[in-house]
Amino acid sequence: MITMQKELFRQLFKRAFTNQFPAKHAPKSVNALLEAVGKGKAKLNPPVPVPENFRGKIAYDKNKCIGCQLCVKVCPANAVVFKPKEKKISYHTFRCTFCGECVNVCPVKCLTFTDEFLLADYKKD
């Protein structure tokens, strides 16, 4: 009985385990909240921090790319498309499986993983 009361008392002062992303409760108006955030009046709670070597959205450095097409060959989802005229690639986020094959195979390291993962959108690119 005393053990339980101790535990209950401890839990009273503990922080909740819930990560309150993006806000504690549903706002009255999402547009008003986003506007306030834009002006710096309100703050959104950040998501849970990503682990090391997280496989987020892939960043492409066009200037580094030598157009070797290795990434086109290894991509299991055909998310990387070669543009023969420019000898560069275009990368489709909405087709990618985030497997990391292209990042590993790239000889000049022009493809890298970023920590960005909030990728919801109204239309696909």
């Binding site: 299991p76 055909n78 909030l118 919801a120």
Partner: protein
């Protein structure tokens, strides 16, 4: 019913159209105490007739095409359709396969696409927030 009635407490129904269960697990993870989507009134319901939002995962296999259409028709208007994961967005690693009837937007109209393989629970919550924003914008236009 008008769009205004949809503004609060979106109840979601989850349809798996041939997904590998990765996205399904992340949807359930978004409802666990760690992320707790239920504090926004988001609730997983057992039938499309009670739902406001359809969460569709998977690349729509041939078998699931007419079932997905039926589930879509059973959901009362107004409704939001969210495509979770890159299988549903474009086919993912099943892109242009002979066994699928195209990505979800070939079968039913999709409002919000959530990219990821699978998307993190925060990404799904972000998608729900974007759906909310879209509803508010639609309401403001009226």
């Amino acid at each position: 019913m008008s769009i205004k009635d949809l503004n609060r407490s979106l109840w979601v129904f989850h349809v798996n159209t041939g997904s590998c269960n990765g996205c399904d697990i992340e949807i359930v993870a978004a409802l666990t105490p760690r992320y707790d989507a239920e504090r926004f009134g988001v609730k997983l319901v057992g039938t499309p007739r009670h739902a406001d939002v359809l969460l569709v995962t998977g690349p729509v296999t041939k078998d699931m095409k007419d079932k997905l259409k039926r589930v879509y028709d059973q959901t009362p208007d107004p409704k939001v359709v969210m495509s979770i994961g890159n299988c549903g967005n474009s086919g993912g690693c099943f892109y242009e396969s002979y066994n699928i009837d195209g990505p979800i937007d070939k079968v039913v109209p999709v409002d919000v696409y959530v990219a990821g393989c699978p998307p993190r629970p925060e990404a799904i919550i972000d998608g729900v927030v974007k759906a909310w924003k879209k509803l508010e914008d639609l309401e403001a236009k009226k």
